[in-house]
Structures are given as structure tokens and as C-alpha cells.
């Protein structure tokens, strides 16, 4: 029997006076590929970083690489969070910057970024091109980094990792923001590389995983517990219930001024030669619950940014929000006051110097960070939501010090705190575990009972709130179809692999 590739004994790691990993033991033998999952905050990311040597932990971690293998003898960790830098080496960007246009481009192109990465690691560019085309990323090679959506940044991260083809690859929540087709292609690519000898540790709470995964484990109370595939399925379909939502969120949102919340007529948005939205017509009536779908780069976030007052080209298009023509003297703050928004970009650019409580309370003012004292009523409401989302112990902790899933929960609380008439949830559950996702979606169902209008973006069809009744599908910036959910299920084969998962 050859040496284990990874051998971990008695690993202990503390974070904020709390034990995250406790006497954890783990042996990964040659040719094994593991899936690790667990609740948000259970220590998945910490364990991965410890193996990659990015955090220090007590205990022993031994890595044994094969000197004769084709793959470079390294462990490569792909973080669940991505960060890019401008040409001056800074990463000081702001939410919405990608929609503003200035003559000077400040970030590198995808091509330049990949060329310099390939040069650094001595890689053949032809291989990267193949991976890019498999992940549906090839058309973006001349885009600048700031123009990429969150899903596209995720792909760039994955292209680099697969191109490097290390002996041990650790992927931390790689499916976040990827559309169905890209997820499948990623799994196929991983299977191929595993076949050639790369070993994989996949950290994910998702159900669709590569075929090469042969061992499963959950992190529970700081320890690694091996799980059988069937136990995992049972666990996945455990019933959830949500406690009653706080009273102040059960009220009907401020009376809708107009029957039509959104009315878009022939919307076009382009950046130079690149057209992002083409002739989009769409009407959202008060109280309707919509699902917005489309592959990565199909124009979903641009469409939503128009509604949220974040896109400068809103002023050169013909559309109405809450019954008023956009650009007729309203301020974006009047628009934002009526919308509760969460999106990967909002999370990404959120003020890192705010505490959890401040972040939640900032939802009253639609600001990134809190700049004024909210007064006692709002204060109490923020406190109530902090406990409703189980975040009491993190209340005064900086957002950046929390695990990603907890950060996301705080931002979800921020999104609903003012009980807005329009909820825009753009992949709200990225980074949450399955229980949290279903819990949140049930909460959305509860909230929406009172006449709230909903626009929900989600790639995982099984994981959307059940109140959704209509779907708009974008393809290459144009509306491909508008239909009810019943119709969408019937005509499922015209879009990816649309299926509603049923309980076994």
C-alpha cells in the first residue's frame, strides 16, 4: 500500500475563542476523490485552507506528492471568494463601477490575465482555450476583468485551476453562480482530469457532483464524519419548517402606487460593440412572483441593474418603474427605497468595515455600511432580525471575519428589513448550505404572502421558492421566453435540463 496523499492527525483550530476543528483526523489515499460538506461555519473552508498551507493549525498535516506524475507536485486551492486587481495592483472597486463607462480602462483583459498566469506556471495556452470553450467562457477572452459578472469571475478562477492541473485540487464551492450547463461541463472536465491522475477535494453542498467522487464526508462539531451516499440523500430531504416571521414583516408593504411595477419597452444596452441587452420587453405586475433565468452572461444582472437604479444607460432607455417613467426627475434613492436587493455583486462590493448589525440596519437606507443612527424602532427591528437569522453571537463582529454563508445570511436580513414592495433576489442563496437555502426560500414564501412583488434569479431549479408563478428566460441578451411555471416545466427541453426534483 502506498503512502496516503494527505494524512491529517489531531488537527485543532480556534477562531474567535471558538473551536472550529477539534482533533480532526483524515487520510486521503492515492486515487481517492472526496466530497466534503457541512453547515455554514462548520469549518469546511478552514480545513481546505489548512491543507493548502494558507492558515496555520495545530496538529499534523502531511502531504505526499508523486515525483513521477505528469501533474505538478502542488496542492492548489480555489477559494469560494474571488478578487481581482486593477493594472496598478489595487482591488479598490465599487459596486456599479462595471456599468459606468470611462475612456480609460483600468483592469486587464481576460487574455492578458491568462497569458501572464500561463507564463508564470509554464503552461500551454492551447489547453486553456479548450477549457474556456468547455466552460462557455471563450467569447469573453477580450473582456476586461471589471466587466465580468460573478459567474464569469468564477469561471476564470476555474479555468486557471484546471489549466494548472495540480496533483491535488481543492475546489471550495465551485458551483456558485454557474449555470446548469457550465456545472455539467465542469463535472465532465473534473472527471477527465481525475482519470489522468489529478486528485480532487470538492467542498460543496450541491447534489450534482462529478462521477469521480468516491468518498463523502461531513464536518460535524469539528470532526470529519464519513457518510454514505444514501444517508446524504435522506439528510438532504429532511423536512424544514420556518418559525413565524417577525410581525413587522408580516404587514402588507406600502401600497403599490401602480399596478405595473416594471414596464420595459424595447430595452437595449451595449458597451461599444458588445450588445448586452437586445430589445427587451417585460412587464411585472404588482404582486407577481417571477423567476429570471439565463446562462452566464445572458444579461440577467444588467437587466436587474436597470431596475435598481444602478445602470447609467437606464436614462437612454424607455421604461417605467412603479408607474413613473425612468429619468423623469426621480432620484435613485427614491427607487431603491422601494426595493430590497441582494446579488453576488452587492455582497462582493459590500463595505468590509461594517459589523453584522450595521450591515443589517443599513438596509433601511440602501447604503453599503451604516452612516446614521437609525432610531429606536428600527434599532429594535434590526435586533429582531439578527436573532431571527441566528446571528446574535456575530452581531458586533465585522462582516469580513464571518464565514461566507453567515455573511450572506446577514445580507439577506438586510434585504428584507424594510419590508419592501419589490424583492429582487439575485442568486440569494449562494454560499448557503441546503438547509439554509430551503429555509430562506420558505421565508421568502412567507414574506410574499402579503402582496410583495418578487424577482428571483436562480440556476438551481429545485431550489427556488414555491410561490414562483412565472418565468422569463434570457438568451444572449434577448428574451427567449416568458411563460408560467407550469408551461416552463412542460416545455423543459428547450432550456438546459429543467427539472423539478421530487422527493424520493
Amino acid at each position: 500500500m502506498s503512502e496516503p496523499v494527505v494524512h491529517i492527525t489531531n488537527l485543532n483550530l480556534w477562531y474567535r475563542q471558538k473551536a472550529v476543528l477539534q482533533d480532526l483526523n483524515w487520510t486521503i489515499n492515492p486515487s481517492e476523490n472526496w466530497l466534503v460538506y457541512g453547515a455554514s461555519g462548520s469549518g469546511k473552508t478552514t480545513l481546505a485552507k489548512a491543507i493548502a498551507g494558507l492558515v496555520r493549525a495545530n496538529g499534523s498535516i502531511t502531504l505526499n506528492f508523486k515525483p513521477e506524475a505528469a501533474q505538478p507536485p502542488v496542492v492548489h486551492y480555489v477559494a469560494n471568494w474571488y478578487q481581482f486587481k486593477d493594472l496598478e495592483g489595487q482591488s479598490n472597486f465599487y459596486y456599479q463601477q462595471r456599468y459606468n463607462k470611462q475612456a480609460v480602462e483600468v483592469t486587464a483583459t481576460v487574455r492578458a490575465e491568462l497569458e501572464s498566469y500561463g507564463k508564470k506556471h509554464g503552461l500551454n495556452f492551447g489547453i486553456a482555450e479548450r477549457i474556456m470553450s468547455d466552460l462557455g467562457f471563450a467569447a469573453l477572452i477580450d473582456s476586461t476583468l471589471i466587466q465580468l459578472s460573478s459567474g464569469e469571475h468564477k469561471k476564470l478562477q476555474l479555468v486557471k485551476a484546471l489549466w494548472l492541473n495540480p496533483q491535488l485540487l481543492i475546489l471550495d464551492q465551485p458551483y456558485n453562480g454557474l449555470d446548469t450547463r457550465s456545472r455539467e461541463n465542469l463535472n465532465t472536465l473534473l472527471d477527465e482530469l481525475a482519470e489522468q491522475g489529478m486528485q480532487l477535494i470538492l467542498i460543496a453542498n450541491d447534489l450534482e457532483i462529478p462521477a469521480c467522487i468516491d468518498r463523502l464526508a461531513e464536518i460535524r462539531e469539528g470532526k470529519l464524519v464519513e457518510i454514505s451516499a444514501s444517508d446524504r440523500m435522506t439528510d438532504f430531504f429532511t423536512e424544514e419548517t420556518v418559525p413565524p416571521v417577525p410581525a413587522f414583516l408580516r404587514e402588507h408593504p406600502a401600497a403599490a402606487a401602480s399596478e405595473l411595477v416594471v414596464k420595459m419597452i424595447g430595452i437595449n444596452v451595449s458597451y461599444g460593440e458588445k450588445q448586452v441587452l437586445r430589445n427587451v420587453d417585460w412587464e411585472v405586475r404588482s404582486g407577481e412572483k417571477w423567476l429570471l433565468q439565463g446562462h452566464n452572461g445572458s444579461g440577467k444582472s444588467t437587466l436587474l441593474s436597470l431596475i435598481c437604479g444602478d445602470h447609467p444607460q437606464a436614462y437612454s432607455n424607455n421604461f417605467y418603474l412603479f408607474g413613473n417613467k425612468r429619468g423623469s426627475g426621480e432620484s435613485i434613492w427614491e427607487i431603491k427605497a422601494r426595493i430590497g436587493l441582494i446579488s453576488p455583486e452587492l455582497h462582493w462590493y459590500f463595505d468590509p468595515s461594517a459589523t453584522v448589525w450595521q450591515s443589517i440596519a443599513s438596509g433601511f437606507y440602501d447604503s453599503s455600511g451604516l452612516f446614521c443612527e437609525p432610531g429606536s424602532t428600527k434599532h429594535a427591528q434590526a435586533d429582531e432580525l439578527v436573532s431571527y437569522f441566528g446571528l446574535e453571537e456575530y452581531k458586533n463582529v465585522l462582516m469580513t471575519e464571518l464565514p461566507l454563508g453567515k455573511q450572506r445570511l446577514a445580507l439577506l436580513a438586510r434585504t428584507i428589513i424594510k419590508n419592501p414592495e419589490l424583492l429582487i433576489l439575485d442568486e440569494p442563496c449562494q454560499g448557503l448550505d441546503l438547509h439554509q437555502t430551503r429555509y430562506f426560500n420558505m421565508l421568502v414564501d412567507e414574506l410574499c404572502k402579503n402582496g410583495t412583488t418578487l424577482i428571483y434569479v436562480g440556476h438551481f431549479d429545485a431550489l427556488v421558492p414555491s410561490c414562483i408563478e412565472k418565468r422569463i428566460l434570457l438568451e444572449n441578451g434577448a428574451v427567449k421566453s416568458i411563460e408560467t411555471m407550469t408551461e416552463a416545466v412542460e416545455t423543459a427541453d428547450n432550456f438546459e435540463n429543467f427539472e423539478i426534483l421530487t422527493k424520493p
Binding site: 479598490n92 459606468n100 463607462k101 470611462q102 426627475g329 434613492w333 440602501d366 455600511g369
Partner: protein
């Protein structure tokens, strides 16, 4: 045209220099209403022009851009910035006659030409807005008597003005009304509404005057903000090379050090910056900065005197007339310095190391901030203005050096600031020659605490702390920083 300030009687000079009120947020409750439905035309679409325009439009105001015919026909960057973002763009002739508010956001040097072209086209009773008072105060531009003249000056680069607005905040802003041009008494109301439109009211607004703004702005940028940071950076780098410190390390320490050091300044003034040093290093930095203050005081005073008398603007305008001969020569010289030409090395320097190994810069910053502040206050400028133009802006300028060294600093600041910066640098380097001979690597390049046991005399430390904390710039700073509610940490890689 003659220097406006010099035409005033002493009484009125002092009067206008002494305008400075930190405005209460209740002053802005009317929002943008005064400008609602009015036609705002911005002249110029560079970084300030574009970003202020984006904010104003997002606040519900009607904004368009007037550009010179050549800029439109040549599809220059200013034209692209405006049209790509969906703004109406037209020539002066097309847009100015119907404008209620004309916003001049062109570089200082073009002001006379722009205002001369725009003024005859402006309708009766319209308003002209500046973001810097040089043209009015130093060049003595006379504006038609029916026109209201105001100033709104966000104290940050244009990109920051936009970034802070979209996150629901703003940048500190200075506003003023020109007393010679407020025929209808509406100037202040319009300036306040404009300020709300750009988001400045959320971050703290200082009511100033054209005169106070110009005289303090020129002083700040020439001495501590740009002049001394340039001199200090070049001398520090040269010293390290002379003493055999690795050039890549020296380059990185100087390029990023001033930003890290002044980040502490931004959050807690000179006190916080000095407190980042060990006790021994703090006492040393204090002594060195006292010595630097004594050496440089006459130079700071000369700059302030020349600014007040109009001598500075006279010689700078001579250089304008001369095709920027001096400016271009000095710019080239700065580009050729060893610091500028040595790329930052691929070495890791920890945050604390920037303080411990660059104690000299801490001393430079304390000396420069205090001297600039003291000199301005002695000349009749209010402490609040003096604070903004010295301590408050230092971290912002330091940030430009971290990006691309002195080249970037001098590119981002105005031509006026750049000219003044070189003027100071040229005089300051010889002045510090003897001082620099005594400086060794314990002050710059190596950890000052190395080989020392860290013991200090209690009384000496108490005296130094009292001198630092008791300075007027610290007292006014504590009040103003609190009033500015939230300070955003500059996010660096």
C-alpha cells in the same frame, strides 16, 4: 484683469479669509429641490465632470455636457465619457443659452478662455459654478453682474466622488458664494442643493469663501501635500541607496510607506500616527520633526507670503505664458529621479514594518502637517480650513504615490498644484542637505528599535505626548473627524 484679493481693503481681506463654518446636516433638509427642473450644463467631462454629472443625474437633476466643437468632432475622451453614459452633449452655443446653472469643471489654466466663451451666451440671472476659486481670486475674472457665482468643491478625486455616492455616502465638500456676484441672494441655496446632488452633504460640508479656499488650497498643496511628500520621498530613497539598502526594498518602502503611515493619520490624526511607533522611536521622531520644523519654517512662510501677495500666481501665470517652460522641465526632472526609475522590489513589507523602518517619513509628515497648519492659521485662515488643506488631504495624496509614485501624484493633481509642488521641492532639497547628512539607516531603511532595549524616561515621554496631543491641529481634527461621521478605510491590496 487684476488680482481680486489685492483690490480688497485689509478689513475685507480678513473678512473673506475668515469664512469657515462646518455646516449642520439640518441645513440640507431641502435636498435638491432648488435645482429640480433646472437645466444643469457641465463644461468639461474629465474625471470630476463625469462623476459629478453621474451623481447629479442619479439625484434626479437634468444634466448635460457642453464641449468645444473640436472635442465633439474629434470624438475625444470627454465626448466619449459623456455620450457612452447616455448624456446629451452639445456645443457651447447649443447648450449654454438655456442653462440655469453652468458648471465649469475644466482645468484652472483654461478657466479664463472658457469663462470668456461661455459668459456672453449665458442667460440673464443664470448661475456659474466653479470647483476652485483661482480664476476669480488670483486672475481677477469679472463676471457679469446679473450672474450668480458659486463654488462647490468635493475634496476627493472624481472616482471617489462616484464610489462614495453609490454606496450611499459622499465625500467632504467645501462650498462658497462669491460676494461680488450674488445679485438675487440665491447662491447659497443653490450651492447646498448641488452639494446634496453629489452626495457631499452626508460626509460633512464646510462653508468657505472663494478667497479662503484659494489661499489655503494653494498653501496646502505646495507644502505638505505634494511638495514635502515629494522631497521626503526622494531624499529618503537616495539616503537608503547611499547606505547600501537594497534598491527594490527602498523603492517599495517609499512608494507604499507614506500611504500606510498616513492611513493612521486619517483615522486618528498625528497622535495616532505617532502612537504606531515604539516609545523610543516616537521620542526620536518627535525630536527629528522639531528640528525639521525649525529648518523648514522660513520656507513655509515664504510660500504663504507669496500666495497671499499674489506673487505665486504671477510667476506661475508667467510660466503659462511661456509655454509651461519651468513646469515641463521640472516634470521631466522628477521623472528622471532614481526613486521614480527603480521599480518596487518583490519583497513583503508588513504593515508595522512601514512605521518601524520609515520613522523618517513619520517625522516629515508630522513636521509638514503642523507647519502648514500653523502657517495658515497665522496668516488669518481659520483652523477648520487649515485642517482640511493639510492633515485631511495628506492621505489622499499619499494614495496616489502608492499607485504609481510621484508621476501619478503629479498627474492626478492640478497643474497649479504640480507647479507649486516643484517650486517647493526645488527650494526644500538644498535646505535639508545638512540635515540629511546626519540621517542614518536607523531612521530610514532599518528597524529603529533594533538593538535598543526600548526603555524611555517617563517624563520625557509624557512631555512628548503632551506636545503632540495638545497641538491645535489635533484638537480641531478630533472635532471635525467626529462630525464627518464615517471614515472609509482606503482599501489596498
Amino acid at each position: 484683469m487684476s488680482n481680486y484679493f489685492n483690490t480688497l481693503p485689509l478689513r475685507e481681506k480678513l473678512n473673506q479669509l475668515g469664512v469657515c463654518d462646518f455646516m449642520d446636516s439640518a441645513e440640507f433638509l431641502d435636498g435638491v429641490n432648488v435645482l429640480k427642473g433646472k437645466k444643469l450644463v457641465i463644461v468639461g467631462c474629465g474625471a470630476q465632470g463625469l462623476n459629478q454629472g453621474l451623481n447629479l443625474r442619479d439625484s434626479g437633476l437634468n444634466v448635460s455636457y457642453a464641449l468645444r466643437k473640436e472635442a465633439i468632432e474629434g470624438k475625444r475622451d470627454s465626448w466619449k465619457n459623456a455620450t457612452d453614459n447616455g448624456f446629451t452633449v452639445g456645443t457651447y452655443e447649443e447648450l449654454i443659452p438655456s442653462a440655469d446653472l453652468v458648471i465649469n469643471l475644466t482645468p484652472d489654466k483654461q478657466h479664463t478662455a472658457v469663462v470668456n466663451a461661455v459668459m456672453p451666451l449665458m442667460k440673464q440671472g443664470a448661475t456659474l459654478l466653479y470647483s476652485h476659486g483661482f480664476n476669480i481670486v488670483e486672475e481677477g475674472m469679472q463676471i457679469r453682474k446679473d450672474i450668480t457665482v458659486i463654488m462647490v468643491a468635493p475634496k476627493c478625486p472624481g472616482s471617489e466622488v462616484r464610489a462614495e455616492y453609490v454606496r450611499g455616502f459622499g465625500v467632504p465638500t467645501l462650498i462658497a458664494v462669491h460676494p461680488e456676484n450674488d445679485p438675487e441672494g440665491k447662491g447659497l441655496l443653490q450651492a447646498k442643493a448641488y452639494c446634496v446632488g453629489t452626495g457631499g452633504h452626508r460626509a460633512g460640508v464646510l462653508k468657505s469663501s472663494f478667497v479662503a479656499e484659494v489661499k489655503s488650497d494653494l498653501m496646502g498643496e505646495q507644502t505638505i501635500l505634494c511638495g514635502l511628500l515629494q522631497t521626503g520621498s526622494i531624499l529618503s530613497f537616495d539616503k537608503m541607496i547611499e547606505k547600501g539598502i537594497d534598491a527594490g526594498y527602498a523603492s517599495k518602502l517609499v512608494q507604499y510607506g507614506v500611504e500606510v503611515i498616513t492611513e493612521a493619520l486619517k483615522q486618528g490624526g498625528i497622535t495616532a500616527m505617532m502612537d504606531r511607533l515604539s516609545n523610543v522611536a516616537k521620542i526620536k521622531a518627535f525630536e527629528v520633526s522639531e528640528e525639521l520644523k525649525d529648518i523648514m519654517r522660513p520656507l513655509f512662510q515664504k510660500h504663504q507670503d507669496d500666495i497671499m501677495s499674489g506673487e505665486f500666481s504671477r510667476i506661475m501665470m508667467e510660466d503659462w505664458a511661456n509655454g509651461d517652460k519651468n513646469l515641463l522641465a521640472w516634470r521631466a526632472e522628477t521623472g528622471e529621479t532614481a526613486f521614480e526609475k527603480t521599480p518596487a522590489g518583490d519583497v513583503k513589507i508588513g504593515e508595522q514594518e512601514y512605521f518601524d523602518n520609515y520613522t523618517l517619513m513619520v517625522a516629515f509628515v508630522r513636521a509638514g502637517v503642523e507647519l502648514a497648519f500653523e502657517t495658515m492659521v497665522q496668516a488669518g485662515i481659520k483652523p477648520e480650513s487649515a485642517y482640511y488643506e493639510s492633515l485631511h488631504e495628506t492621505p489622499l495624496i499619499a494614495n496616489t504615490i502608492a499607485r504609481k509614485k510621484l508621476f501619478e501624484m503629479n498627474r492626478v493633481i492640478s497643474d497649479t498644484a504640480e507647479y507649486g509642488c516643484y517650486l517647493f521641492d526645488q527650494a526644500c532639497k538644498p535646505l535639508l542637505a545638512d540635515f540629511m547628512k546626519k540621517v542614518d539607516t536607523d531612521l530610514v531603511g532599518k528597524n529603529f528599535n533594533e538593538g535598543k532595549d526600548g526603555a524611555v524616561d517617563n517624563r520625557a515621554l509624557i512631555e512628548v505626548n503632551e506636545a503632540i496631543r495638545g497641538h491645535q491641529v489635533e484638537q480641531i481634527g478630533a472635532v471635525l473627524r467626529k462630525a464627518m461621521t464615517a471614515m472609509k478605510a482606503i482599501k489596498t491590496a
